[in-house]
């Protein structure tokens, strides 16, 4: 029996992510217990961790640091124990070195890059809101069965620019290239919301549950 921890640090919509992960666990056929928690001890003990996130880069970062020991537990999980971690939306953005939303805020630096405003040259409405077609750049195990042209749901004004092109897994076009998913070693993140992206999202979550980097 493995444990999957969905971190609840007060940022946004937990029920959708929780339910989608429950379905992913069922589909994986694996014996998993899903827990929703902000306890550093439980997160340290979990076999996999999901970091959701809605809102501001800075606020989410502060909320996570506001739970004593939480970020240390996560870093331990990632770097020492090599456990799979999934970040969603701002939960993904926090993996960067730096966020540029309302000034500069340092991120966790797990995947090199900066989180910048979406290009506005094309005059498209911001936030980038709705369903966009994925352009899959790699053959990452978490993306098995997900193809270019599948749709995912986005709602964001900032996106990550990866310093290493090889960390970019999926992008979309919105007046330019927008980062849609990143991955490096045991860390994976999606700018889109797999929990709101129907079959494509459930497939990604199921792949991630089964993923053993």
């Amino acid at each position: 029996m493995q444990t999957v921890a969905l971190i609840d640090y007060g940022a946004g919509n937990i029920p959708s992510a929780q339910r989608a992960l429950e379905v992913a666990v069922e589909r994986s056929g694996l014996s998993c217990e899903l827990i929703v928690t902000d306890s550093p001890e439980k997160i340290a003990a979990a076999d996999r961790v999901v970091i959701p996130g809605v809102g501001h880069f800075k606020d989410c970062r502060e909320a996570m640091f506001g739970v004593s020991g939480l970020v240390d537990a996560l870093e331990d999980s990632i770097h020492k124990k090599g456990r799979p971690v999934l970040g969603i939306c701002v939960g993904m953005q926090l993996m960067a070195d730096l966020g540029l939303e309302d000034g500069e805020t340092s991120g966790f630096g797990w995947i090199p890059g900066k989180v910048e405003h979406i290009p506005t040259d094309a005059g498209l409405p911001i936030p980038h809101m709705g369903w966009n077609e994925l352009v899959v750049r790699t053959e990452h195990p978490v993306l098995a069965g997900i193809e270019t042209g599948n749709h995912a749901y986005f709602v964001h004004s900032y996106h990550m620019h990866c310093a290493n092109p090889s960390d970019l897994q999926v992008e979309v076009d919105y007046g330019g290239h927008i980062t849609a998913a990143i991955g490096r070693d045991n860390v994976f993140g999606t700018q889109f919301h797999p929990e709101l992206s129907q079959e494509t999202g459930l497939r990604l979550l199921t792949n991630w549950i089964k993923w053993n980097p």
Binding site: G12, N13, I14, V155, V172, Y174, L196
Partner: protein, 255 residues
Amino acid sequence: MLKTRIIPCLDVKDGRTVKGVNFVDLRDAGDPVALAKAYSEQGADEICFLDISASEEGRGTMLDVVNKTARNCFTPLTVGGGVRSPDNVIALLRAGADKVGINSAAVADPDLIARCAARVGRQCVVVAIDARRTGDGKWEVFTHGGKRGTGIDAIEYAELACAKGAGEILLTSMDKDGTKSGYDIELTRSVASRVTIPVIASGGAGTIPHLIEGIQETGATAVLAASIFHFGEIAIEDAKREMQAAGIPMRIEEN
């Protein structure tokens, strides 16, 4: 490429779906959770719930409905109606809403938009505007379910809402709502051309060509409709296919 969204809207009162013609004559169209799930399966790009309960009890029931919906369909859910404070917004998000609509309370106090955006991020804050034409190229903001005039110019208010931190505008024409004679194209175009955030056209859709012109002639990035979907007059799949054939990029998954 980003796809144009079709958003069925369910008016919910005390946990049941209703839809009025011009916001008055209520008809029961069923269980909101089941309807949301059905729409999600038909290809709805988002679902919108408008809580028109008058009582605290009704609002408590709404949190339940939102929670059940979030757990039953993996489609983005916007919930509005009676939202007065950042705490109301957070309660709805925690229950499972993905975005929250603010209407009358934001008209009374536009800084509420900024306070909500600061707490939950602007992408979660949908400012709903009910507008009624008052003259040539002029519309007035109405509140309280479209009953109360405010004297506020709708275009200027949309710009203010955008500046205060709205993530999206849900723009309903009170003149058109329930008439099935098409969206107020001029209103929608006027607002969409003056704000930098997405605009949802609402009020008046009766046919698929209305949905098409609601996008092609306005700059809106989503169309919202209620009764045409609830009573099976138009299937969402058919609407999406026809809109795509008209040259609008739609999300149509090949299964």
